[in-house]
Protein backbone atom coordinates (compact mmCIF):
# COMPACT_ATOMS: atom_id res chain seq x y z
CA UNK A 1 0.00 0.00 0.00
CA UNK A 2 1.64 3.21 -1.11
CA UNK A 3 0.53 6.73 -0.36
CA UNK A 4 -1.52 7.15 -3.56
CA UNK A 5 -3.49 3.96 -2.94
CA UNK A 6 -4.34 5.08 0.59
CA UNK A 7 -5.41 8.52 -0.63
CA UNK A 8 -7.58 7.01 -3.38
CA UNK A 9 -9.25 4.63 -0.93
CA UNK A 10 -9.92 7.45 1.55
CA UNK A 11 -11.25 9.68 -1.23
CA UNK A 12 -13.60 6.95 -2.44
CA UNK A 13 -14.90 6.25 1.08
CA UNK A 14 -15.48 10.00 1.60
CA UNK A 15 -17.31 10.23 -1.74
CA UNK A 16 -19.55 7.28 -0.84
CA UNK A 17 -20.36 8.55 2.67
CA UNK A 18 -20.73 12.22 1.72
CA UNK A 19 -24.32 12.20 0.33
CA UNK A 20 -25.62 10.34 3.38
CA UNK A 21 -24.82 13.37 5.53
CA UNK A 22 -25.10 16.25 3.06
CA UNK A 23 -28.24 18.22 2.13
CA UNK A 24 -29.78 17.60 -1.28
CA UNK A 25 -28.34 20.65 -3.02
CA UNK A 26 -24.82 19.57 -2.06
CA UNK A 27 -25.56 16.06 -3.29
CA UNK A 28 -26.60 17.62 -6.59
CA UNK A 29 -23.41 19.64 -6.80
CA UNK A 30 -21.38 16.53 -6.01
CA UNK A 31 -23.23 14.66 -8.74
CA UNK A 32 -22.34 17.41 -11.23
CA UNK A 33 -18.69 17.36 -10.15
CA UNK A 34 -18.39 13.64 -10.90
CA UNK A 35 -20.45 13.86 -14.06
CA UNK A 36 -18.39 16.71 -15.51
CA UNK A 37 -15.21 14.90 -14.42
CA UNK A 38 -16.45 11.85 -16.34
CA UNK A 39 -17.11 13.89 -19.50
CA UNK A 40 -13.73 15.58 -19.05
CA UNK A 41 -12.08 12.16 -18.76
CA UNK A 42 -13.64 11.09 -22.06
CA UNK A 43 -12.04 14.20 -23.60
CA UNK A 44 -8.79 13.54 -21.73
CA UNK A 45 -8.37 10.07 -23.18
CA UNK A 46 -8.15 11.37 -26.73
CA UNK A 47 -7.21 15.01 -26.07
CA UNK A 48 -4.86 14.53 -23.13
CA UNK A 49 -3.25 11.10 -23.46
CA UNK A 50 -3.23 10.94 -27.26
CA UNK A 51 -2.87 14.71 -27.75
CA UNK A 52 -5.72 15.01 -30.27
CA UNK A 53 -7.24 18.31 -29.12
CA UNK A 54 -10.92 18.34 -29.98
CA UNK A 55 -13.19 21.39 -29.99
CA UNK A 56 -16.31 19.41 -30.81
CA UNK A 57 -16.47 16.58 -28.32
CA UNK A 58 -20.08 17.49 -27.66
CA UNK A 59 -20.91 15.68 -30.90
CA UNK A 60 -20.54 12.37 -29.00
CA UNK A 61 -22.41 13.66 -25.98
CA UNK A 62 -25.32 14.75 -28.16
CA UNK A 63 -25.27 11.53 -30.17
CA UNK A 64 -25.61 9.55 -26.94
CA UNK A 65 -28.31 11.79 -25.52
CA UNK A 66 -30.38 11.72 -28.71
CA UNK A 67 -29.88 8.00 -29.38
CA UNK A 68 -31.16 6.86 -26.00
CA UNK A 69 -33.93 9.46 -25.92
CA UNK A 70 -35.22 8.60 -29.39
CA UNK A 71 -35.07 4.85 -28.65
CA UNK A 72 -36.95 5.48 -25.43
CA UNK A 73 -39.54 8.06 -26.49
CA UNK A 74 -40.19 7.00 -30.07
CA UNK A 75 -39.49 3.28 -29.94
CA UNK A 76 -40.43 2.49 -26.34
CA UNK A 77 -37.08 1.04 -25.29
CA UNK A 78 -36.13 0.79 -21.66
CA UNK A 79 -33.47 3.46 -20.96
CA UNK A 80 -31.10 0.94 -19.37
CA UNK A 81 -31.16 -1.03 -22.62
CA UNK A 82 -30.91 2.15 -24.68
CA UNK A 83 -27.80 3.18 -22.75
CA UNK A 84 -25.38 0.70 -24.35
CA UNK A 85 -27.01 1.41 -27.72
CA UNK A 86 -26.21 5.10 -27.19
CA UNK A 87 -22.60 4.20 -26.38
CA UNK A 88 -22.42 2.12 -29.53
CA UNK A 89 -23.65 5.09 -31.60
CA UNK A 90 -21.09 7.31 -29.88
CA UNK A 91 -18.39 4.81 -30.77
CA UNK A 92 -19.56 4.70 -34.39
CA UNK A 93 -19.58 8.49 -34.70
CA UNK A 94 -16.15 8.64 -33.03
CA UNK A 95 -14.85 6.03 -35.42
CA UNK A 96 -16.33 7.83 -38.43
CA UNK A 97 -14.98 11.27 -37.54
CA UNK A 98 -11.57 9.84 -36.68
CA UNK A 99 -11.45 7.73 -39.84
CA UNK A 100 -12.26 10.68 -42.12
CA UNK A 101 -10.11 13.25 -40.33
CA UNK A 102 -7.02 11.14 -39.72
CA UNK A 103 -7.17 9.54 -43.17
CA UNK A 104 -6.98 13.09 -44.53
CA UNK A 105 -3.94 13.61 -42.31
CA UNK A 106 -5.44 16.39 -40.17
CA UNK A 107 -3.43 17.24 -37.09
CA UNK A 108 -3.34 19.80 -34.29
CA UNK A 109 -5.45 22.88 -34.89
CA UNK A 110 -6.97 21.48 -38.07
CA UNK A 111 -8.30 18.46 -36.24
CA UNK A 112 -9.69 20.73 -33.52
CA UNK A 113 -11.50 22.84 -36.08
CA UNK A 114 -12.97 19.95 -38.02
CA UNK A 115 -14.44 18.43 -34.85
CA UNK A 116 -16.06 21.80 -34.19
CA UNK A 117 -17.55 21.74 -37.68
CA UNK A 118 -18.83 18.17 -37.23
CA UNK A 119 -20.58 19.20 -34.02
CA UNK A 120 -22.12 22.12 -35.88
CA UNK A 121 -23.38 19.82 -38.66
CA UNK A 122 -24.98 17.55 -36.06
CA UNK A 123 -26.56 20.53 -34.29
CA UNK A 124 -28.09 21.82 -37.51
CA UNK A 125 -29.32 18.33 -38.43
CA UNK A 126 -30.88 17.84 -34.98
CA UNK A 127 -32.58 21.19 -35.53
CA UNK A 128 -33.97 20.18 -38.92
CA UNK A 129 -34.76 16.49 -39.18
CA UNK A 130 -38.21 15.27 -38.09
CA UNK A 131 -37.20 12.40 -35.80
CA UNK A 132 -35.46 14.70 -33.29
CA UNK A 133 -38.49 17.06 -33.26
CA UNK A 134 -36.18 19.91 -34.30
CA UNK A 135 -35.76 22.93 -32.11
CA UNK A 136 -38.63 21.90 -29.83
CA UNK A 137 -36.37 19.32 -28.27
CA UNK A 138 -37.45 16.02 -26.78
CA UNK A 139 -39.12 15.41 -23.45
CA UNK A 140 -38.81 12.13 -21.59
CA UNK A 141 -41.97 11.34 -19.67
CA UNK A 142 -41.38 11.67 -15.95
CA UNK A 143 -41.97 8.35 -14.17
CA UNK A 144 -39.46 8.17 -11.32
CA UNK A 145 -38.82 4.48 -10.88
CA UNK A 146 -35.36 2.86 -10.93
CA UNK A 147 -36.39 0.61 -13.83
CA UNK A 148 -36.93 3.83 -15.85
CA UNK A 149 -33.50 5.25 -14.96
CA UNK A 150 -35.34 7.97 -13.01
CA UNK A 151 -35.12 8.45 -9.28
CA UNK A 152 -37.02 10.36 -6.61
CA UNK A 153 -33.97 10.67 -4.37
CA UNK A 154 -31.03 12.55 -6.02
CA UNK A 155 -28.64 10.27 -4.16
CA UNK A 156 -29.03 7.55 -6.81
CA UNK A 157 -27.96 9.77 -9.68
CA UNK A 158 -25.09 10.86 -7.45
CA UNK A 159 -23.95 7.26 -7.05
CA UNK A 160 -24.31 6.56 -10.76
CA UNK A 161 -22.23 9.65 -11.57
CA UNK A 162 -19.67 8.56 -9.00
CA UNK A 163 -19.55 5.09 -10.55
CA UNK A 164 -19.08 6.56 -14.04
CA UNK A 165 -16.30 8.76 -12.72
CA UNK A 166 -14.56 5.84 -11.00
CA UNK A 167 -14.80 3.70 -14.13
CA UNK A 168 -13.32 6.53 -16.20
CA UNK A 169 -10.49 6.92 -13.67
CA UNK A 170 -9.75 3.21 -13.95
CA UNK A 171 -9.69 3.51 -17.76
CA UNK A 172 -7.25 6.43 -17.50
CA UNK A 173 -5.17 4.55 -14.93
CA UNK A 174 -4.96 1.55 -17.25
CA UNK A 175 -3.77 3.86 -20.04
CA UNK A 176 -0.80 4.81 -17.89
CA UNK A 177 0.06 1.12 -17.51
CA UNK A 178 -0.72 -0.69 -20.74
CA UNK A 179 0.92 -0.63 -24.14
CA UNK A 180 -2.04 1.05 -25.83
CA UNK A 181 -1.63 4.03 -23.49
CA UNK A 182 2.11 4.10 -24.08
CA UNK A 183 1.57 4.16 -27.83
CA UNK A 184 -0.90 7.05 -27.45
CA UNK A 185 1.62 9.07 -25.44
CA UNK A 186 4.28 8.32 -28.06
CA UNK A 187 1.92 9.65 -30.74
CA UNK A 188 1.21 12.77 -28.68
CA UNK A 189 4.86 13.55 -28.11
CA UNK A 190 6.05 12.98 -31.66
CA UNK A 191 3.85 11.46 -34.30
CA UNK A 192 6.60 10.94 -36.86
CA UNK A 193 8.90 9.31 -34.33
CA UNK A 194 6.06 7.05 -33.20
CA UNK A 195 5.48 6.00 -36.79
CA UNK A 196 9.18 5.34 -37.25
CA UNK A 197 9.04 3.04 -34.22
CA UNK A 198 6.45 0.93 -36.01
CA UNK A 199 3.31 2.23 -34.31
CA UNK A 200 0.27 2.22 -36.59
CA UNK A 201 -0.51 5.87 -35.80
CA UNK A 202 -3.71 6.02 -37.83
CA UNK A 203 -5.20 2.87 -36.26
CA UNK A 204 -4.34 3.94 -32.71
CA UNK A 205 -5.83 7.41 -33.16
CA UNK A 206 -9.03 5.96 -34.63
CA UNK A 207 -9.20 3.48 -31.74
CA UNK A 208 -8.81 6.14 -29.05
CA UNK A 209 -11.45 8.42 -30.53
CA UNK A 210 -13.85 5.48 -30.81
CA UNK A 211 -13.32 4.71 -27.11
CA UNK A 212 -13.65 8.38 -26.17
CA UNK A 213 -16.82 8.71 -28.26
CA UNK A 214 -18.45 5.74 -26.54
CA UNK A 215 -17.64 7.14 -23.08
CA UNK A 216 -18.85 10.62 -23.89
CA UNK A 217 -22.09 9.23 -25.34
CA UNK A 218 -22.71 7.39 -22.06
CA UNK A 219 -22.56 10.82 -20.42
CA UNK A 220 -25.13 12.11 -22.91
CA UNK A 221 -27.65 9.45 -21.88
CA UNK A 222 -27.02 10.20 -18.21
CA UNK A 223 -27.69 13.88 -18.85
CA UNK A 224 -30.92 13.17 -20.70
CA UNK A 225 -32.13 10.93 -17.84
CA UNK A 226 -31.21 13.53 -15.23
CA UNK A 227 -33.00 16.48 -16.89
CA UNK A 228 -35.54 14.48 -18.92
CA UNK A 229 -35.18 17.00 -21.72
CA UNK A 230 -32.72 17.68 -24.54
CA UNK A 231 -32.68 20.06 -27.47
CA UNK A 232 -30.17 20.65 -30.27
CA UNK A 233 -28.29 23.49 -28.59
CA UNK A 234 -27.98 21.61 -25.27
CA UNK A 235 -26.97 18.38 -26.96
CA UNK A 236 -24.65 19.79 -29.64
CA UNK A 237 -23.82 23.31 -28.39
CA UNK A 238 -20.22 24.44 -28.23
CA UNK A 239 -20.48 25.18 -24.48
CA UNK A 240 -20.26 21.52 -23.46
CA UNK A 241 -17.26 20.94 -25.74
CA UNK A 242 -15.51 23.85 -24.10
CA UNK A 243 -16.47 22.63 -20.62
CA UNK A 244 -14.93 19.19 -21.23
CA UNK A 245 -11.77 20.75 -22.59
CA UNK A 246 -11.59 23.32 -19.79
CA UNK A 247 -11.90 20.97 -16.82
CA UNK A 248 -9.27 18.72 -18.35
CA UNK A 249 -6.83 21.48 -19.26
CA UNK A 250 -7.26 23.20 -15.91
CA UNK A 251 -6.90 19.98 -13.95
CA UNK A 252 -4.10 18.59 -16.08
CA UNK A 253 -4.37 17.07 -19.55
CA UNK A 254 -2.95 13.57 -19.88
CA UNK A 255 -3.05 12.91 -16.15
CA UNK A 256 -5.34 10.43 -14.39
CA UNK A 257 -6.89 12.87 -11.92
CA UNK A 258 -6.73 16.00 -14.07
CA UNK A 259 -10.41 16.07 -15.13
CA UNK A 260 -11.62 15.36 -11.58
CA UNK A 261 -9.43 18.06 -10.04
CA UNK A 262 -10.44 20.49 -12.78
CA UNK A 263 -14.11 19.69 -12.26
CA UNK A 264 -13.83 20.29 -8.51
CA UNK A 265 -11.96 23.56 -9.07
CA UNK A 266 -14.37 24.93 -11.68
CA UNK A 267 -17.49 23.87 -9.76
CA UNK A 268 -16.12 25.59 -6.66
CA UNK A 269 -15.51 28.82 -8.58
CA UNK A 270 -18.96 28.57 -10.09
CA UNK A 271 -20.72 28.02 -6.76
CA UNK A 272 -18.73 30.77 -5.05
CA UNK A 273 -19.64 33.35 -7.70
CA UNK A 274 -23.25 32.16 -7.61
CA UNK A 275 -23.24 32.53 -3.82
CA UNK A 276 -21.71 36.01 -3.99
CA UNK A 277 -24.23 37.01 -6.64
CA UNK A 278 -27.17 35.86 -4.53
CA UNK A 279 -25.94 37.58 -1.34
CA UNK A 280 -24.83 40.93 -2.80
CA UNK A 281 -27.64 42.38 -4.92
CA UNK A 282 -25.29 44.82 -6.68
CA UNK A 283 -23.40 41.85 -8.08
CA UNK A 284 -26.35 39.86 -9.35
CA UNK A 285 -24.99 39.96 -12.89
CA UNK A 286 -21.59 38.57 -12.03
CA UNK A 287 -22.44 35.00 -13.00
CA UNK A 288 -20.68 35.31 -16.37
CA UNK A 289 -17.60 36.42 -14.44
CA UNK A 290 -17.03 32.85 -13.26
CA UNK A 291 -16.49 31.98 -16.90
CA UNK A 292 -14.16 34.95 -17.21
CA UNK A 293 -12.15 33.39 -14.38
CA UNK A 294 -12.12 30.05 -16.25
CA UNK A 295 -10.83 31.76 -19.38
CA UNK A 296 -8.05 33.51 -17.44
CA UNK A 297 -7.18 30.22 -15.74
CA UNK A 298 -6.97 28.46 -19.10
CA UNK A 299 -4.56 31.09 -20.42
CA UNK A 300 -2.45 30.99 -17.25
CA UNK A 301 -2.33 27.21 -17.20
CA UNK A 302 -1.28 26.96 -20.82
CA UNK A 303 1.37 29.60 -20.13
CA UNK A 304 2.72 28.45 -16.78
CA UNK A 305 1.44 25.01 -15.77
CA UNK A 306 1.34 22.57 -18.67
CA UNK A 307 0.34 19.80 -16.26
CA UNK A 308 -2.55 21.84 -14.90
CA UNK A 309 -3.43 21.98 -11.24
CA UNK A 310 -2.22 18.39 -10.93
CA UNK A 311 1.25 19.75 -11.60
CA UNK A 312 1.07 21.65 -8.31
CA UNK A 313 0.81 18.41 -6.36
CA UNK A 314 3.70 16.76 -8.06
CA UNK A 315 7.15 17.20 -6.57
CA UNK A 316 9.13 16.78 -9.75
CA UNK A 317 7.78 18.23 -12.99
CA UNK A 318 7.29 15.34 -15.35
CA UNK A 319 7.62 15.85 -19.04
CA UNK A 320 7.30 12.53 -20.73
Amino acid sequence: MNRTTVLCALGLVAAVVFPLAAPNYLVNIGMLVFFVAFLGQSWNISGGFAGQTSFGHVVFFGTGAYTSTILQVTWGWNPWVAWPAAMLMGAIVGWGIAFLSFRAGLRGSYFALITLAFAEVFRILANSVPFTRGGLGMLIKSDPRPINFQFKDPIWLYYIALALCVVSLVVAWQLTRNRFGARLVAIRENEDAARALGIDVFAEKVRVLTLSGAMCAAGGTFYAQKYLYIDPSIAFGVDKSVEMLLVTMVGGAGTIFGPLIGSIALTTINEVTRGVASVVPALKNVQPLSLVVYGVMLVLIVARLPDGLTGLFRRKPRHA
Binding site: L106, G108, I114, A117, V121, V242, V286, V292, V302
Partner: protein
Protein backbone atom coordinates in the same frame (compact mmCIF):
# COMPACT_ATOMS: atom_id res chain seq x y z
CA UNK B 1 -37.75 23.54 -56.71
CA UNK B 2 -39.50 26.25 -58.67
CA UNK B 3 -37.92 29.55 -57.85
CA UNK B 4 -38.28 32.49 -60.20
CA UNK B 5 -34.89 33.57 -61.60
CA UNK B 6 -35.13 37.12 -60.27
CA UNK B 7 -35.41 35.80 -56.71
CA UNK B 8 -32.36 33.63 -57.25
CA UNK B 9 -30.50 36.55 -58.80
CA UNK B 10 -31.38 38.74 -55.85
CA UNK B 11 -30.23 36.08 -53.39
CA UNK B 12 -26.96 35.65 -55.27
CA UNK B 13 -26.29 39.39 -55.40
CA UNK B 14 -27.14 39.99 -51.75
CA UNK B 15 -25.11 36.92 -50.83
CA UNK B 16 -22.21 38.37 -52.78
CA UNK B 17 -22.46 41.64 -50.88
CA UNK B 18 -22.67 39.95 -47.46
CA UNK B 19 -19.88 37.63 -48.53
CA UNK B 20 -17.60 40.59 -49.13
CA UNK B 21 -17.94 41.66 -45.49
CA UNK B 22 -17.38 38.06 -44.41
CA UNK B 23 -14.28 38.27 -46.56
CA UNK B 24 -13.15 41.28 -44.54
CA UNK B 25 -13.61 39.32 -41.30
CA UNK B 26 -11.66 36.46 -42.86
CA UNK B 27 -8.95 38.82 -44.14
CA UNK B 28 -7.89 39.57 -40.58
CA UNK B 29 -7.87 35.88 -39.74
CA UNK B 30 -5.87 34.88 -42.78
CA UNK B 31 -3.35 37.71 -42.31
CA UNK B 32 -2.72 36.59 -38.74
CA UNK B 33 -2.40 33.00 -39.89
CA UNK B 34 -0.13 33.80 -42.82
CA UNK B 35 2.37 35.67 -40.68
CA UNK B 36 2.07 34.25 -37.20
CA UNK B 37 0.95 30.78 -38.28
CA UNK B 38 -1.61 30.93 -35.51
CA UNK B 39 -5.25 30.01 -35.71
CA UNK B 40 -6.87 32.79 -33.77
CA UNK B 41 -9.90 31.39 -32.06
CA UNK B 42 -10.59 34.73 -30.36
CA UNK B 43 -11.33 36.30 -33.73
CA UNK B 44 -15.09 35.92 -33.33
CA UNK B 45 -15.07 37.31 -29.79
CA UNK B 46 -12.99 40.29 -30.88
CA UNK B 47 -15.53 40.91 -33.64
CA UNK B 48 -18.29 40.85 -31.01
CA UNK B 49 -16.34 43.35 -28.91
CA UNK B 50 -15.92 45.60 -31.95
CA UNK B 51 -19.64 45.38 -32.74
CA UNK B 52 -20.45 46.43 -29.18
CA UNK B 53 -17.97 49.29 -29.48
CA UNK B 54 -19.75 50.48 -32.63
CA UNK B 55 -23.09 49.96 -30.87
CA UNK B 56 -22.02 52.09 -27.91
CA UNK B 57 -20.60 54.74 -30.25
CA UNK B 58 -24.03 54.98 -31.87
CA UNK B 59 -26.29 54.75 -28.81
CA UNK B 60 -24.20 56.69 -26.28
CA UNK B 61 -22.54 59.26 -28.54
CA UNK B 62 -24.78 59.26 -31.60
CA UNK B 63 -21.91 58.50 -33.96
CA UNK B 64 -22.89 56.80 -37.19
CA UNK B 65 -21.14 53.41 -37.51
CA UNK B 66 -19.71 54.38 -40.89
CA UNK B 67 -18.12 57.45 -39.29
CA UNK B 68 -16.94 55.40 -36.30
CA UNK B 69 -15.27 52.78 -38.52
CA UNK B 70 -11.88 54.47 -38.80
CA UNK B 71 -11.47 55.58 -35.16
CA UNK B 72 -12.58 52.09 -34.08
CA UNK B 73 -10.03 50.55 -36.43
CA UNK B 74 -7.35 52.61 -34.67
CA UNK B 75 -8.60 51.61 -31.23
CA UNK B 76 -8.77 47.93 -32.14
CA UNK B 77 -5.36 48.04 -33.74
CA UNK B 78 -4.08 49.08 -30.31
CA UNK B 79 -6.08 46.39 -28.53
CA UNK B 80 -4.89 43.71 -30.94
CA UNK B 81 -1.29 44.88 -30.62
CA UNK B 82 -1.41 44.66 -26.83
CA UNK B 83 -3.26 41.32 -26.77
CA UNK B 84 -0.61 39.70 -28.97
CA UNK B 85 2.31 41.40 -27.22
CA UNK B 86 1.16 40.82 -23.63
CA UNK B 87 -1.00 37.70 -23.74
CA UNK B 88 -0.84 35.44 -26.77
CA UNK B 89 2.87 35.77 -27.48
CA UNK B 90 4.17 35.12 -23.94
CA UNK B 91 1.51 32.55 -23.03
CA UNK B 92 1.73 30.29 -26.06
CA UNK B 93 5.50 29.75 -26.12
CA UNK B 94 5.32 29.05 -29.82
CA UNK B 95 3.32 25.81 -29.73
CA UNK B 96 0.50 25.45 -32.21
CA UNK B 97 -2.06 23.82 -29.87
CA UNK B 98 -1.15 26.19 -27.05
CA UNK B 99 -2.00 29.19 -29.20
CA UNK B 100 -5.35 27.66 -30.04
CA UNK B 101 -6.06 27.12 -26.34
CA UNK B 102 -4.84 30.57 -25.31
CA UNK B 103 -7.04 32.23 -27.92
CA UNK B 104 -9.94 30.01 -26.81
CA UNK B 105 -9.35 31.24 -23.25
CA UNK B 106 -9.32 34.81 -24.54
CA UNK B 107 -12.56 34.31 -26.40
CA UNK B 108 -14.21 32.93 -23.24
CA UNK B 109 -13.01 35.98 -21.30
CA UNK B 110 -14.16 38.52 -23.90
CA UNK B 111 -17.51 36.85 -24.53
CA UNK B 112 -18.41 36.66 -20.85
CA UNK B 113 -17.23 40.20 -20.12
CA UNK B 114 -19.65 41.29 -22.83
CA UNK B 115 -22.33 39.11 -21.25
CA UNK B 116 -21.73 40.68 -17.84
CA UNK B 117 -21.82 44.20 -19.28
CA UNK B 118 -24.60 43.98 -21.86
CA UNK B 119 -26.58 40.88 -20.71
CA UNK B 120 -27.67 38.33 -23.24
CA UNK B 121 -30.21 40.57 -25.03
CA UNK B 122 -29.83 40.97 -28.74
CA UNK B 123 -29.49 44.59 -29.71
CA UNK B 124 -29.50 46.50 -32.94
CA UNK B 125 -29.05 50.13 -33.78
CA UNK B 126 -31.51 52.37 -35.48
CA UNK B 127 -30.09 54.15 -38.49
CA UNK B 128 -32.31 55.77 -41.10
CA UNK B 129 -30.70 53.93 -44.01
CA UNK B 130 -30.88 50.40 -42.49
CA UNK B 131 -33.75 49.34 -44.72
CA UNK B 132 -32.83 51.35 -47.82
CA UNK B 133 -32.56 49.39 -51.01
CA UNK B 134 -31.04 50.09 -54.40
CA UNK B 135 -32.64 48.81 -57.57
CA UNK B 136 -30.32 46.77 -59.72
CA UNK B 137 -32.16 45.49 -62.75
CA UNK B 138 -34.93 43.28 -61.40
CA UNK B 139 -33.20 42.82 -58.02
CA UNK B 140 -33.33 44.96 -54.89
CA UNK B 141 -30.02 45.31 -53.11
CA UNK B 142 -29.64 46.33 -49.48
CA UNK B 143 -27.90 49.72 -49.19
CA UNK B 144 -25.86 48.90 -46.03
CA UNK B 145 -24.58 45.77 -47.71
CA UNK B 146 -23.63 47.70 -50.82
CA UNK B 147 -21.63 50.11 -48.64
CA UNK B 148 -20.04 47.10 -46.94
CA UNK B 149 -19.04 45.66 -50.29
CA UNK B 150 -17.41 48.91 -51.43
CA UNK B 151 -15.63 49.42 -48.11
CA UNK B 152 -14.31 45.87 -48.13
CA UNK B 153 -12.76 46.43 -51.54
CA UNK B 154 -11.23 49.70 -50.30
CA UNK B 155 -9.75 47.98 -47.22
CA UNK B 156 -8.47 45.10 -49.34
CA UNK B 157 -6.69 47.50 -51.73
CA UNK B 158 -5.29 49.54 -48.84
CA UNK B 159 -3.99 46.38 -47.19
CA UNK B 160 -2.43 45.23 -50.44
CA UNK B 161 -0.65 48.57 -50.88
CA UNK B 162 0.50 48.50 -47.26
CA UNK B 163 1.87 44.97 -47.54
CA UNK B 164 3.57 45.56 -50.89
CA UNK B 165 5.11 49.00 -50.60
CA UNK B 166 5.54 50.07 -46.98
CA UNK B 167 8.55 49.19 -44.87
CA UNK B 168 6.25 47.62 -42.25
CA UNK B 169 4.57 45.54 -44.94
CA UNK B 170 7.93 44.31 -46.16
CA UNK B 171 8.96 43.46 -42.62
CA UNK B 172 5.70 41.54 -42.12
CA UNK B 173 6.29 39.55 -45.27
CA UNK B 174 9.89 38.90 -44.28
CA UNK B 175 8.79 37.57 -40.88
CA UNK B 176 6.12 35.42 -42.53
CA UNK B 177 8.69 33.84 -44.86
CA UNK B 178 11.66 33.42 -42.60
CA UNK B 179 11.40 34.42 -38.98
CA UNK B 180 14.96 33.72 -37.94
CA UNK B 181 16.39 35.44 -40.99
CA UNK B 182 14.19 38.47 -40.37
CA UNK B 183 15.39 38.65 -36.78
CA UNK B 184 19.01 38.42 -37.97
CA UNK B 185 18.67 41.43 -40.26
CA UNK B 186 17.40 43.47 -37.33
CA UNK B 187 13.61 43.18 -37.61
CA UNK B 188 11.91 43.23 -34.20
CA UNK B 189 9.92 40.02 -34.64
CA UNK B 190 7.78 40.37 -31.51
CA UNK B 191 6.84 43.90 -32.61
CA UNK B 192 5.97 42.77 -36.14
CA UNK B 193 3.86 39.91 -34.75
CA UNK B 194 1.93 42.36 -32.64
CA UNK B 195 1.53 44.83 -35.52
CA UNK B 196 0.16 42.04 -37.72
CA UNK B 197 -2.27 40.96 -35.04
CA UNK B 198 -3.25 44.61 -34.62
CA UNK B 199 -3.95 44.98 -38.35
CA UNK B 200 -6.05 41.80 -38.28
CA UNK B 201 -8.06 43.16 -35.35
CA UNK B 202 -8.43 46.55 -37.06
CA UNK B 203 -9.99 44.75 -40.06
CA UNK B 204 -12.50 43.31 -37.61
CA UNK B 205 -13.39 46.74 -36.27
CA UNK B 206 -14.15 47.98 -39.77
CA UNK B 207 -16.13 44.82 -40.52
CA UNK B 208 -18.08 45.34 -37.27
CA UNK B 209 -18.99 48.91 -38.26
CA UNK B 210 -20.12 47.68 -41.68
CA UNK B 211 -22.15 44.81 -40.25
CA UNK B 212 -23.93 46.71 -37.51
CA UNK B 213 -26.55 48.53 -39.59
CA UNK B 214 -27.93 45.23 -40.90
CA UNK B 215 -27.03 42.67 -38.19
CA UNK B 216 -28.01 42.49 -34.55
CA UNK B 217 -25.37 42.17 -31.83
CA UNK B 218 -25.36 39.83 -28.82
CA UNK B 219 -22.52 38.43 -26.69
CA UNK B 220 -22.48 35.23 -28.74
CA UNK B 221 -22.81 36.77 -32.19
CA UNK B 222 -19.10 36.31 -32.90
CA UNK B 223 -19.53 32.54 -32.73
CA UNK B 224 -21.74 32.66 -35.77
CA UNK B 225 -19.07 34.53 -37.68
CA UNK B 226 -16.06 32.62 -36.48
CA UNK B 227 -16.97 29.34 -38.16
CA UNK B 228 -17.89 31.27 -41.29
CA UNK B 229 -14.55 33.09 -41.18
CA UNK B 230 -12.61 29.86 -40.64
CA UNK B 231 -14.48 28.27 -43.54
CA UNK B 232 -13.60 31.19 -45.80
CA UNK B 233 -9.96 31.08 -44.78
CA UNK B 234 -9.72 27.33 -45.28
CA UNK B 235 -11.62 27.52 -48.55
CA UNK B 236 -9.49 30.35 -49.92
CA UNK B 237 -6.26 28.86 -48.60
CA UNK B 238 -4.68 29.73 -45.27
CA UNK B 239 -2.74 32.98 -45.56
CA UNK B 240 -4.03 33.97 -49.00
CA UNK B 241 -5.58 37.45 -49.41
CA UNK B 242 -7.24 36.75 -52.73
CA UNK B 243 -8.45 33.48 -51.23
CA UNK B 244 -10.15 35.34 -48.38
CA UNK B 245 -11.97 37.65 -50.79
CA UNK B 246 -13.04 34.92 -53.22
CA UNK B 247 -13.83 32.51 -50.37
CA UNK B 248 -15.92 35.18 -48.67
CA UNK B 249 -18.00 35.75 -51.78
CA UNK B 250 -18.47 32.01 -52.40
CA UNK B 251 -19.59 31.49 -48.81
CA UNK B 252 -21.90 34.50 -48.91
CA UNK B 253 -23.61 33.16 -52.03
CA UNK B 254 -23.73 29.61 -50.64
CA UNK B 255 -25.39 30.88 -47.50
CA UNK B 256 -27.96 32.91 -49.41
CA UNK B 257 -28.81 30.07 -51.79
CA UNK B 258 -28.74 27.47 -49.01
CA UNK B 259 -31.23 29.53 -47.01
CA UNK B 260 -33.43 29.94 -50.09
CA UNK B 261 -33.44 26.28 -51.13
CA UNK B 262 -33.12 24.36 -47.86
CA UNK B 263 -34.87 26.79 -45.54
CA UNK B 264 -33.59 28.94 -42.69
CA UNK B 265 -32.55 26.06 -40.39
CA UNK B 266 -31.04 23.47 -42.69
CA UNK B 267 -29.57 26.17 -44.95
CA UNK B 268 -26.80 26.86 -42.43
CA UNK B 269 -25.44 23.38 -42.94
CA UNK B 270 -23.80 24.30 -46.26
CA UNK B 271 -21.04 26.32 -44.61
CA UNK B 272 -20.03 23.59 -42.16
CA UNK B 273 -20.13 20.97 -44.89
CA UNK B 274 -17.91 23.04 -47.18
CA UNK B 275 -15.52 23.47 -44.28
CA UNK B 276 -15.35 19.74 -43.59
CA UNK B 277 -15.06 18.78 -47.25
CA UNK B 278 -12.27 21.27 -47.96
CA UNK B 279 -10.29 20.10 -44.94
CA UNK B 280 -10.76 16.46 -45.90
CA UNK B 281 -10.20 16.73 -49.63
CA UNK B 282 -8.07 19.79 -50.35
CA UNK B 283 -6.60 21.28 -47.16
CA UNK B 284 -4.58 23.84 -49.12
CA UNK B 285 -7.80 25.48 -50.31
CA UNK B 286 -8.25 27.27 -53.61
CA UNK B 287 -5.31 29.65 -53.44
CA UNK B 288 -3.13 28.18 -50.69
CA UNK B 289 0.46 27.33 -51.42
CA UNK B 290 1.55 25.18 -48.54
CA UNK B 291 0.62 21.54 -48.00
Amino acid sequence: MNLPPEIILEAVLNGLLTGAVYGLVALGLTLVYGVLHIINFAHGALLTAAMYAAYVARTAFGVDPYVAALPLAGLFFGIGYLVQRLVIGPASRGKDENILLVTLGLSIVIENLMLAMFRSDTRSIDVPYAMDVVEFGPALLSWPRLVGFAATIAVGVALYVLMTFSATGKAIRAVAKERTGAALVGIDVAHIYAVTFGIGTACLAIAAALLLPSFYVSPRVGNAFVLVAFTIVVLGGMGSFIGAAVGGIIIGITEALGGLILGEQLGQIGISLIFILILLLKPTGLFGSRA
